[in-house]
């Protein structure tokens, strides 16, 4: 009895424990990868050797590991989807996916995952595809070290670089994304981390959150995207140590926050943006130890925001430090460094003795009538601001930093 049990276990071990390795060369008699995929059994590894494989349109419906050696090229000839994964436990490593089809109606992607869990996509290049990686209804995903490059000929027809819909536990690390609609797009995604990615030259946003709660993004760089980064209709989002550079244009932002609550913005850098952070309908957000330098507006806080805290930030060389559109402010500012502060510190505690009012009269006028921006830096405006400082009338009285730092906050 014991013996038969042991043989059964041994048999199972042999059956499932040792997966096969299948090699495919471009000069193989049949280099049709799909045939090999169909023949392979659960857990096998398919090794694809360097070369160009054309008219690729693969469907993976079982757990397999696809490994490319020296980056074989899988070309879709501008016709269809390159790879569709509809299985758990799949690894895709070391390929160049290029030239997917384009369609306004279907979301055609380089790599598309549907109802797939435990997926690893690593070290690939996805070039000239409609969507780069499109994942829906999946969990436990690792997307790492990929280069995703789109060619936005027709803006409307470009998809997102990495597009996640209804996913959770996704880790998106060290990818480089450019030339897509949104670099990274999250819709109904929870408990995920976006770290060390570079997202540049995307048509709309470098990163876009919609209805995605409890996510973390840190140490990413967002440079010269159409409108920066948008975090909308979400809560519990941590945004730390990111860099937002040169998001410049009529409706461009470092970060656009719309209807978000209970979030943290720590240690980020905002350089050369039209608007550093735009707050609209936000509450309970902590903005701590960020650097705002050379922006048009460092922060714009609309009257619909409340209980946000701004502490230990540095405001340097911005045209406007803070702008708002209401007369009442329910947000607190303290211990920030403002380069426009002209107060004094008689008791030498490092904090200014008179409060600093970061909203000036002119920014209120511009908010109400954007065309007056043409008067920026004119003498008239200089006089008006001085007069307003002496006798405040239009600027919100309680929007002030009562304890401004005289020296730069060390970040």
């Amino acid at each position: 009895m014991k013996k038969t049990k042991a043989t059964i276990i041994l048999f199972l071990l042999f059956y499932y424990g040792f997966a096969n390795i299948i090699n495919i060369h471009p000069e193989s008699i049949s280099n049709n990868i799909q045939k090999y995929i169909d023949k392979a059994s659960y857990g096998d590894t398919i090794v694809i050797h360097p070369g160009i494989y054309t008219s690729v349109s693969l469907v993976l419906q079982k757990s397999l590991h696809l490994i490319g050696i020296n980056k074989p090229i899988l070309d879709g000839d501008f016709k269809n989807e390159l790879l569709r994964i509809n299985a758990d436990n799949v690894t895709i490593e070391g390929f160049i996916f290029r030239n997917s089809g384009k369609s306004g109606m279907n979301e055609i992607a380089g790599i598309r995952c549907i109802d797939a869990n435990k997926i690893i996509i690593i070290n690939n290049e996805i070039i000239n595809c409609h969507f780069g990686i499109h994942i829906s209804n999946s969990s436990t995903l690792t997307i790492q070290n990929n280069i995703i490059k789109g060619t936005p000929f027709e803006e409307q027809n470009t998809g997102n670089g990495i597009h996640l819909w209804k996913c959770n536990y996704a880790n998106i690390f060290t990818n480089n994304i450019s030339g897509h609609r949104d670099g990274i797009y999250f819709e109904f995604v929870t408990n995920s981390t976006i770290q060390d990615n570079i997202s540049t030259f995307n048509i709309r946003y470098g990163l876009h959150f919609m209805f995605s709660h409890s996510n973390l993004y840190l140490c990413n760089e967002f440079i010269q995207n159409g409108a920066g980064v948008a975090v909308m209709y979400s809560k519990n989002v941590r945004m730390e140590e990111n860099t937002f550079i040169k998001n410049w244009g009529a409706s461009s932002y470092g970060i656009l926050l719309k209807d978000i609550s209970d979030s943290w913005i720590y240690n980020n850098k905002f350089l050369y943006n039209t608007i550093g952070i735009h707050f609209e309908g936000t509450s309970r957000i902590e903005v701590v130890r960020n650097e705002f330098q050379n922006n048009g507006w460092a922060i714009k806080v609309l009257a619909s925001c409340m209980d946000n805290r701004f502490e230990h930030n540095n405001f340097i060389s911005n045209s406007f430090d803070v702008a708002t559109n209401g007369s009442l402010s329910l947000n607190t500012f303290s211990h920030n460094y403002w380069d426009k502060y002209e107060g004094y510190d008689l008791n030498h505690d490092g904090l200014g003795d008179v409060p600093f009012y970061p909203v000036n009269l002119y920014s209120m006028i511009v908010e109400q009538n954007p065309n007056t921006i043409i008067l920026l830096r004119s003498t008239l405006i200089g006089f008006l601001d001085k007069a307003e400082k002496a006798i405040p009338s239009l600027t919100p009285e309680n929007l002030k930093d009562s304890s401004p730092f005289l020296k730069l906050n060390s970040l």
Binding site: T158, Y205, A230, A250, S251, H278
Partner: protein, 147 residues
């Protein structure tokens, strides 16, 4: 003297041209939605409101347009035009009163309202099987989207 007259005329022409309001096309990637501030990329779902004074508001989704109209809380005749993109030909504006709407999960609008507007039943039938899909007119859409 002549140059003064020319200058005066140009002012007159400019002021006239300001009051004359034609629907303005949406430039994908440049324009942004008045309501949600998102950049408009997918013009198939875009909408536009022109007030009687000629001011133009652009929207990325019919939901944003309705939320804007509801927040203003004015009768619709206060607006010169309320327009929606024709789904199959996004460069063309339709008056919302004339458009036929379909809601479907197969289409994916920027703000998840997932409405598409069509000019007539024939163009709709080329795209959707209407036996399965219910169609709506503008007032029904307004009833459906109460924000």
């Amino acid at each position: 003297m002549r140059s003064i007259i020319v200058a005066l005329w140009s002012i007159v022409v400019l002021t006239i041209s300001c009051t004359n309001s034609v629907p303005s096309p949406i430039i994908a990637g440049k324009d942004s939605c008045t309501e949600c501030k998102m950049g408009i990329i997918d013009t198939r779902y875009a909408g536009e409101v022109i007030t009687n004074k000629g001011k133009i508001y652009k929207f990325d989704d019919i939901g944003c347009m309705l939320s804007f109209l509801q927040s203003k809380n004015q009768p619709e005749n206060k607006y010169q035009k309320i327009l929606i993109s024709e789904y199959l030909n996004p460069k063309n504006w339709l008056e919302v009163k004339d458009a036929i709407f379909v809601q479907s999960n197969e289409i994916h609008s920027p703000m998840n309202f997932n409405f598409a507007a069509f000019a007539d039943m024939t163009s709709l039938n080329t795209f959707f099987d209407t036996k399965e899909k219910q169609t709506y007119n503008w007032s029904q859409v307004k009833e459906l989207i109460k924000l």
